[in-house]
């Protein structure tokens, strides 16, 4: 077992443990902080995939923006949902059952896929090509349309969020 494999196992175990804490923590603020750790673990997994651009993007977008936004939402809505009382609904055993079923189904599907074990071949050379990636995002023969639609989506989300979360108007 190589050093990289051991590093991946440690990062994976840490990420999964903090993800479990996110969904089971009684205090919602603790769940938000565990979420930061889980997102950082996913960034490290991206780094083991030699996707350095997305490791940095994960830190900037998820930890830097989304986690902070979630922490703000937690602080703004703190009073009503005290950290006492049940944090999961009545049918949580069924939810657990459904999740284990989905996991078993995914693992079964993956184990039936031919490339599951044979794909453990050498990683192809020349993984990340950021120049090519940037050109593909802006060239008309590449992905400029999805890229621009994504920008419109972001603007629409921004305007919509301001409108929805703004002061309720008096009728």
């Amino acid at each position: 077992m190589s050093a990289l494999q051991i590093i991946f196992l440690v990062i994976g175990a840490l990420t999964l443990a903090s993800a479990v804490m996110v969904v089971t923590a009684r205090k919602i603020m603790h769940a938000a902080l565990w979420l930061v750790l889980a997102l950082g673990g996913v960034a490290a997994v991206f780094a083991t995939l030699e996707a350095s651009f997305f490791a940095v993007m994960q830190v900037v977008v998820y930890i830097g923006a989304i986690a902070i936004l979630i922490i703000f939402a937690v602080m703004l809505t703190r009073k009503v949902m005290e950290d006492t009382g049940p944090q999961v609904n009545r049918s949580w055993p069924w939810a657990l059952l459904a999740c284990l079923g989905v996991l078993a189904g995914l693992v079964y599907l993956l184990s039936n896929w031919g490339g599951f074990l044979t794909a453990a071949r050498a990683i192809p050379e020349g993984g990340e090509n950021l120049v090519q990636f940037g050109q593909a995002l802006t060239s008309p023969s590449g992905f400029v349309v999805p890229f621009e639609v994504a920008s419109i989506l972001l603007v629409a989300a921004l305007v919509g969020a301001i409108y929805v979360a703004g002061e309720p108007r008096e009728k």
């Binding site: 995939l49 998820y62 990636f133």
Partner: protein, 102 residues
Amino acid sequence: MIPLAWYLIFAAMLFCVGLFGVLARRNAVAILMGIELMLNAVNVNLLAFWRYLWAPKVDGQVFVSIVLIAAAAEAVVGLALIISAYRRRNTIAAEDMDMLKG
């Protein structure tokens, strides 16, 4: 080197943990956290497939960046909705958000 299977199993487990959060938590913000975990699992899957099967080409990276943008937009709108519902109803428990119920 790390087998592709490890990444896929890791992503499947992360997805299921997030799914449990979405299905079981009462707090709407915690449900959004579960959704973030699920989207992260999808990104791990996409990047693993890209790295092992498509590596010199950039299609997989474009997919991941679109998922990242959609996740950011979803988090912003979701949290705005939650804050709006909190202002009107003074609750963020998912089972109390039944304004559309006839």
